[in-house]
């Protein structure tokens, strides 16, 4: 249905429009625009157009390494979230267990506790006297605690844990949206379980895979807190770099250039994923 938008309809949309325009789109546009302004130690920026922020960001090895590391960790996080999230989503979508509601809740529950809580959990688990090291020593696999904190591995493990639910939900939707008769038909025509899965179920869940991966990738690329606490100075990523530039160095134009690169990476990934999705579908 849908009536003509009259005065009442406009009034309904007024608050959200004002909120998004004034406090979301305008400030973000202005912040990203600053990337082409010159840095000034006295003011926020000097109103002179320059390409020096981007030149420095893409020219210095230090920053190039940060960009590369961010892309690498974001890609790996998306990959491992998919590898772990797919069996989980598949199970939840196909199970007839009476516990399904509870199991679904257990996927959402960690998400609700917030980033800090889960990051702290991994500090406890991965520390020198943490559960993982204690177990490794008890099993006799190592004789001294292994250094896991302040490595890329720690950041990766925690990010996969924190962001995996965002992979599970789109996968779950696309798996429950499939017509169950299609799988049955494949079995009837003689395909085995594996072949049915790889040639029918998996291709049909493509949209969920693309959506989940894009979501996890962009969320990882913007992460600040988890890399800062679990990786320390050893695992500097784009998010932390922006944080330091704004709060310590107060170099807004350069921070803006870093943020622009971040946004560019995210949107190109989203664009690639969706173009890939449409090509196969069409």
């Amino acid at each position: 249905m849908g009536e003509r938008i009259g005065g009442f309809g406009r009034a309904l949309f007024a608050p959200i429009t004002v909120l998004y325009l004034l406090f979301l789109l305008a400030p973000i546009s202005f912040f990203l625009l600053m990337s082409v302004f010159r840095y000034s130690p006295m003011e926020l920026y000097e109103p002179a157009l320059t390409g020096e922020n981007f030149a420095r960001l893409l020219g210095e090895d230090y920053y190039r390494a940060i960009i590369f590391r961010t892309l690498k960790i974001a890609g790996l996080t998306a990959l491992f979230s998919l590898l772990l999230g797919y069996p989980l989503a598949y199970f939840l979508a196909r199970t007839r267990s009476i516990w399904r509601g509870v199991l679904m809740f257990l996927v959402i529950a960690p998400l609700m506790t917030g980033v800090i809580v889960r990051t702290y959990g991994w500090i406890v688990l991965l520390g020198a006297q943490g559960t993982v090291n204690t177990t490794l020593i008890w099993l006799g696999l190592v004789d001294r605690p292994v250094k896991i904190l302040e490595t890329e591995l720690a950041v990766l493990i925690a990010l996969v844990h924190i962001l995996m639910p965002y992979m599970v939900f789109p996968l779950f939707s696309s798996l429950t949206g499939q017509d169950p008769n299609v799988e049955k038909a494949a079995a009837t025509l003689g395909a085995g379980r594996w072949r049915t899965f790889f040639e029918v179920t998996l291709p049909l869940s493509r949209s969920g895979i693309l959506m989940g991966s894009a979501l996890v990738f962009t969320l990882t690329a913007g992460a600040v807190v988890t890399p800062a606490l679990l990786g320390g100075q050893n695992v500097q990523m784009l998010g932390q770099t922006i944080y330091d530039l704004v709060l310590s160095t107060l170099n807004w134009p350069f921070a803006s250039a870093v943020a622009s690169i971040l946004v560019l990476c995210q949107f190109s990934i989203i664009f690639l994923y969706f173009r890939g999705g449409r090509r196969r579908a069409g």
Binding site: Y120, G190, A221
Partner: protein, 287 residues
């Protein structure tokens, strides 16, 4: 056909149609393998949360597991520390305000999207959910930047930021609830002479009350767990709990953090269960 049909039936699923054994000797083994894998994934998902709860009752300084005894000393330390208690109270206050703001604005927007946009509904819905697609760190920095230019209280910036990140969830949840409301009822109320506002107040809102309450609670949960918006907009007198914990953990991590986060986990789980009972969490997560 009948012969082929039996080839794929569960009874003979262990042998492929060509007589080759399948990767799993039987369908049952395949199910057990998936079951074991899923169990392992759940352990991975829940371990960090469970370990925090155990650690919070640990009598010693070290984050050891299994715990060496039972003690409430970290809870006592939490209640003694002014900083954490103040931050906890501030987060409760901020969460309540952001939740009310996001639910009211979310309700108006969701109603507009469902009843007034017609064929443009998809586009309207995507626009309303925009804050999910934008990295929260970017929203936060930009608000800080805006505040340095426009004279606007920084506390206001924090509240606005939280309302913005909660809105996608309240809108998605309320749209799902509104879809269950028959538009004929509203038409009937208006034919009988009720104004638009009265129809909203006396017909629509009572019908979707559980959905509104869920949106309110879920928005509170999102606000309470947020760290990115508060990262740039916190300050003296307006430090949220996650930021207080973040600053503390950059220097040390004693189990006092475990005690605080355990309280937080229990609060969130209870609220989450209420939402689950009311409308189902999945509606708010759009799955």
């Amino acid at each position: 056909m009948p012969a082929e049909r039996t080839a794929g039936s569960p009874a003979t699923a262990g042998i492929g149609p060509t007589g080759r054994p399948l990767p799993f000797a039987s369908a049952a083994a395949g199910r057990y393998a998936l079951g074991a894998l899923v169990t392992a994934i759940y352990v991975f998902l829940l371990a960090p949360v469970v370990i925090i709860i155990f650690t919070s009752f640990n009598p010693t300084e070290a984050n050891t597991f299994p715990p060496s005894g039972f003690s409430l000393r970290w809870y006592a330390k939490f209640l003694d520390s002014g900083g954490f208690v103040d931050a906890f109270k501030f987060s409760l206050w901020l969460g309540a305000i952001a939740a009310v703001g996001a639910t009211v604005i979310g309700f108006l927007s969701a109603y507009g999207i469902v009843r007034f946009l017609g064929r443009r509904r998809e586009a309207g819905q995507s626009l309303a959910l925009l804050p999910i697609m934008i990295p929260h760190i970017l929203i936060s920095i930009s608000l800080l930047l805006a505040l340095t230019i426009v004279p606007f209280p920084e506390l206001g910036g924090l509240i606005v930021g939280h309302i913005i990140i909660c809105l996608p969830f309240t809108i998605a949840g309320i749209i799902a609830s509104l879809e269950g409301v028959d538009a004929q009822l509203e038409l009937a109320a208006r034919t009988l002479g009720a104004s638009r506002l009265r129809t909203l107040w006396e017909v629509v809102i009572p019908l979707i009350a559980p959905g509104l309450l869920s949106a309110l609670i879920f928005a509170f949960i999102v606000s309470f767990g947020d760290v990115y918006i508060a990262l740039f907009l916190s300050g003296p007198g307006r430090t949220t709990l996650p930021i207080e914990i973040f600053s503390y953990m950059q220097w040390e991590s004693t189990p006092v953090v475990a005690a605080i986060t355990t309280v937080q986990i229990l609060l969130i789980i209870v609220l989450g269960l209420v939402v689950e009972r009311l409308v189902g969490l999945r509606k708010l997560m759009r799955v």
